[in-house]
């Protein structure tokens, strides 16, 4: 090291010598790594803030493992079970999942599979010792391992077993192999099977107890909230769409000035896999809160499917917010009133349904909004039939007409969602809530009513969005 390098070190700038280059390189690398660490820490903070249960879960896993390790370390486990005691540690690490449903699924699958595979292995070992003799025994053992492994592996392809017992089948293969090759003597095999089952049970039960007793994460509740949240997102879009499409402003600002909040529905389009995964695990959970053991989780999937159908329509509607072919304002304004009514009422209906589901009540308040939206859809239908755009260019009317048709479709979708929610509510015995009675909507009698709408009025909308305001909108 030259004195120049020392100078570099002292003034911390990194000079021209080879040592200076190394220092500069080290600095650059450490700055880069430090940047990555800071970024990761920020991401971690966000993950923890988004769902603080993640932190709790991490500590729970730490606690369960520490318990089993201490148990093992202080030898009451070790004295009884020898090296096999580590199966308890292994079981905790492999079985502890984020949700109670996940933990129970893995824990029960593991314990049952260990029991069954252990019994089968002991039986096969007994037979092969009896019939095989010194030479035949390993051959019979190898064949049994081969066929059990092949058959169980093939069973993992069955969709029903894949969904519910995939882990169990894997543990079955594993235990069968371990027990059946564990030694020559019958007693040893029996002993091995017994020790393995006991230690797995100790690990499994520790895991399940810690998972359920300390701040349990019920995946059923999460599914319940996901389904309700998805309906809410659709409702948000519908409420915002009317304002956004017709460019309605209040105090100079677009009412839905946060356009990105309209795009939250996108996650509904691809939530099928997640919903099915959650419903599969929720089935394993015992009764908790308002959820019984046999809560009708498959009905949630039904609501999810209907929501997704609605989301596809909304995806189509969304393109008309951003399309280049846009109908002129005067054409749009002719269908503005029924369209914004449909948007408002569907949005409210979806949000009411979501709120009722969240509160686990059988509410009929959404029905009224659906009735209003159907009335608005009929009035829109009638407007289209009487030919409001006769003097306009056909091409210019088409986007608005397409939006109108999609909105009519959305009303049907929302009705189906409502039916699915009601089916779920009655299957799950939700308690009935008395709705506040609103004024009956005045329905159009399709062809006998003379319609006079002030097409230029954009002020007909209820400013506070109250339902009274909306019923008056129907009194045309």
């Amino acid at each position: 090291m030259t004195s120049a390098d020392f100078d570099d070190l002292e003034n911390g700038s990194g000079g021209k010598g080879p040592c200076g280059r190394v220092i500069r390189w080290l600095k650059a690398v450490s700055a880069k790594s430090w940047g990555k660490v800071v970024e990761a820490a920020r991401e971690g903070k966000k993950l923890a803030e988004d769902d603080p249960r993640r932190i709790v879960h991490s500590f729970k896993v730490g606690l369960a493992l520490t318990l089993v390790c201490l148990f093992y370390y202080y030898r009451p486990l070790y004295d009884g079970f020898g090296v096999d005691a580590m199966w308890a540690v292994l079981t905790v690490a492999l079985v502890f999942e984020y949700s109670v449903g996940g933990t129970l699924e893995r824990g029960i699958n593991r314990m049952m599979a260990t029991l069954l595979a252990g019994a089968l292995a002991v039986g096969v070992h007994h037979i092969s010792t009896l019939w095989g003799g010194k030479v035949g025994e390993p051959i019979l053992m190898a064949f049994s391992v081969f066929f059990v492994a092949a058959i169980m592996t093939f069973l993992r392809f069955f969709p029903v077993l894949k969904a519910r017992h995939d882990y169990g089948l894997m543990v079955f293969i594993l235990t069968f192999c371990l027990v059946s090759v564990s030694g020559y003597k019958d007693e040893q095999v029996l002993d091995m099977a017994h020790r393995r089952l006991s230690t797995v049970a100790i690990g499994g039960c520790t895991t399940i107890i810690v998972c359920i007793c300390i701040c349990p994460v019920w995946i059923g509740v999460d599914l319940h909230n996901l389904i309700a949240g998805n309906m809410e997102k659709l409702g948000d879009f519908m409420e915002g769409f009317g304002f956004e499409y017709f460019g309605i402003t209040e105090n100079g600002l677009t009412l839905s000035d946060t356009k990105s909040s309209l795009q939250r529905y996108k996650s509904v389009l691809t939530s099928k896999g997640l919903e099915e995964f959650m419903a599969n695990l929720a089935r394993w959970e015992p009764g908790h809160g308002g959820f019984k053991f046999c809560h009708p989780w498959e009905k949630y999937l039904n609501v999810g499917t209907q929501s997704r159908q609605c989301a596809y329509k909304i995806e189509a509607l969304n393109t008309y917010l951003n399309t280049e072919i846009q109908a002129p304002a005067e054409i749009r304004s002719k269908i503005q009133e029924p369209c914004t009514n449909i948007c408002n009422e569907c949005g409210k209906a979806l949000k009411e349904l979501a709120a009722a589901l969240k509160k686990m009540t059988l509410s009929s308040s959404a029905d009224q909004h659906i009735a209003y939206s159907k009335a608005a859809a009929e009035s829109l239908d009638l407007l289209l039939k009487i030919g409001i755009w006769e003097d306009a260019n056909v091409l210019e009317t088409i986007p608005s007409a397409a939006v109108a048709l999609l909105l009519i479709d959305v009303v049907a979708c929302v009705e189906k969602i409502s039916e699915a929610v009601h089916e779920l509510a009655s299957a799950a015995d939700f308690k009935t809530e008395q709705p506040q009675l609103l004024q009956e909507p005045v329905l159009y009698e399709e062809s006998h009513v003379a319609i006079t709408i002030d097409h230029n009025s954009t002020d007909g909308l209820p400013e506070n969005g109250s339902s009274n305001g909306i019923t008056t909108n129907y009194n045309v």
Copy 2:
């Protein structure tokens, strides 16, 4: 047992005595179980026929486990490693996945995690023995287990780590716990870490060798085929839609008489999760066939996203096949020619793209179909602009107008898919294929051309769907 019961047994009918009831019950139960067995066998047969690689995979798992078990049984492993030899069996059972990518992901994660966690555990154990003394050592051990488990569990929530190293993090926790609690003496811990690593490596390598050497299932190839297949499904729909919507018949039969085949596109709507899962595993696969090690798998996801966007439009189109509000035939017939052209050309373009992708060639034959479909879209646009339905009821024209708009959107989607495929093809260095030159399509010059279309002609379509026929259709 009465003599009557014996009679029952003999004539096999099940009589009136208590024994008869038991027999009838047993019969009913056995008939039911037999029915279930037969049903399961049928499902198994179907699973095997759908993808015979499943059978091969099952045998491969059986073989790998038998190999390791025999190795263990005949004691060369056992003599070296003692009871720890079972880690080899365990590793095979836990690591062997259906695809090479899956197996490599788990195998490499497991081996790396075992190495790192073993090293950390030995280090922590060394420190705690040095500093802790008899009393402090278990306390330090417990703390280290708690914090390592908690931190690693939290890391599993990071999306990047979750996608690629979830299993590795789990094995890290597991190995750290097992090694650090395995005993009091430093040498024992080091020995344990070493034995565990060696046995895991033996199991992991056996698995990987069997998985790659015997009929390997490359998940990259499956992803490649899935993406190409999805485009083909969309193409099938587009080709069928034109015929179905306009009710075109040939020899008295609807051309697309298998309406269910049109619905195959539905799987594209929800394939996002599967595609991401496959791309994640494909990254682990070494070069195979035309796929290099660093094949641009993320570009496949891009093609998948664009296909899904197109599928959403198709979902909207599909509703017009089944909707109650249907435009009368004479209204539809006015836009029939450009619409069926768009359908045919988009369908062909999608199928060409799928075929080129399957053959791993950079083909420009789809470009011509896209150019034709764009020309058809322009002609459709022009038709709408000049007001072909001026004498018709507005409501009746709307469904057809909506279909027309959606078809124009689909053309844009197909163009985006084509761009994504080209991007993929150039990133993956697909070889260029010389396309057969087709006649240039005659494009409309939008506002300067006088258009005369025989609206009543439904025979203008090429019966064999040849591209020559289609170019003549544009010569209006």
